[in-house]
Symmetry: C2
Subunit: 128 residues, 2 copies
Amino acid sequence: MASNDTMVIGQKLVELCGAGKGMDAIDQLYSKDIVSVEASADGPMDQTMNGVDAVRGKNQWWYENHEVHSGQIDGPYPHDDRFITFMKYDITPKAGPMAGNRFTMQEMGLYTVAKGKIIKEEFFYHMG
Amino acid sequence: MASNDTMVIGQKLVELCGAGKGMDAIDQLYSKDIVSVEASADGPMDQTMNGVDAVRGKNQWWYENHEVHSGQIDGPYPHDDRFITFMKYDITPKAGPMAGNRFTMQEMGLYTVAKGKIIKEEFFYHMG
């Protein structure tokens, strides 16, 4: 079965992100050696980032460049040392080609847990 | 970006499963060497099954032992050579400890594609 760690970490992530405390989730749950991978290599940022500082920077950029009207997160759905969450955001980008255009963003997050910390996050979505 | 194969295969899977044609999806989209992995080792069946005949058998067993009142599937959410779908079923098991009890089952499926076929499916869910 999914290890207790996996479920506990997944539930904490959903709880914190659901409360708009994504940066707290990073501080509390992420390994310093976290690997973060976007869905594709042709997006607006590097597909793969390494280390908690880079991930913190990516999240800070995102929060600063998007107006979030509402968001929801569903999960965790566990499988051994991994779990999946579903995220849906109603947002308006403040910069870039979609600036000012309100739309709904939906994505899946696949997380890998080791020794009580999230060591990898991989995002699954389709760029319109 | 997600390869064309990944999106095309994912869309076909969602289309067929959404139309209740799960066995057709296996026939058309699965590699003969498919590996199928359930969420945990303590469920009612082997966690890992190998080969399309075993997977066909598992699905046949499931369809024969569950009354499916309704179902929905959302996706695909792609990431390189993998994609995720979300499945929700309103079911009543015909056998086992939950026989006769109608409930909603929700799970994520993580699929890996190679050479135009699904070579791995992994299911993510929490056993009550």
